[in-house]
């Protein structure tokens, strides 16, 4: 799966994207977040409080209990501040 990070999540993690192998235990975004938090202290910090984070699967906003599959693009970012 391709994982994308933006704004301060990208800064904490130190990368704008990474590939993560999908396995059968990753049924939802929440399962994926549990795996990502183990990757580094930066990941842990970025994904510590998911109420501060918005999630998009294949570029569509979803909730944390949305299903994920092996070929998904999953993005994590703060609430938007454009305009």
């Amino acid at each position: 799966m391709n994982i994308r990070y933006f704004a301060w999540l990208r800064e904490h993690i130190g990368a704008s994207s990474e590939d993560i192998a999908h396995d059968q235990t990753m049924k939802t975004v929440s399962d994926l977040v549990d795996v990502l938090r183990q990757q580094s202290t930066g990941h842990q910090k970025a994904l510590a409080d998911m109420t501060l984070v918005r999630v998009a699967v294949n570029q569509v906003y979803v909730d944390i209990d949305h299903p994920v599959t092996a070929h998904d693009e999953v993005a994590f970012f703060p609430p938007v501040t454009g305009g």
Partner: protein, 156 residues
Amino acid sequence: MTIRVQEDDFDLTRIYAELREAPTGQHTPGAISLFVGLVRDMNNNHSVAAMTLEHYPGMTETKLTAIHDAAMTRWPLGKAIIIHRVGKLYPNDQIVLVGATSSHRQAATEATAFMMDYLKTEAPFWKSEQTADGVTEWVSTRESDMTARSRWQETK
């Protein structure tokens, strides 16, 4: 082109001329509404030296197109346009332009406000501000932006 995400500045005179022309097969407009957002030199009582706008390529264009199309469906518009800049910007630079044309003013002004309210809460852009002493901070969300958007859900 109806939506654009670009680093370059935009030229109001050219956009205005484009909006003023009749859409293909339609009458000439009776009203043009335009909103332009600029970089402020102050935010929350500190001076802003520069601002960097990051976005999510692909999803940003999809979201802006959906917002544009929703406005075109909801109001009897001739044309609608959304332009948003990304990259490094400085105080007084133009950041965003939203515009709409219609036969009468109400549809154009409402559609412009609607597109701006949805852009601010749904389009994946993030601002970071640099102060004069070199400190960089991510801009946080304003509750008032969510309140502004909710008015379009209550009325038809």
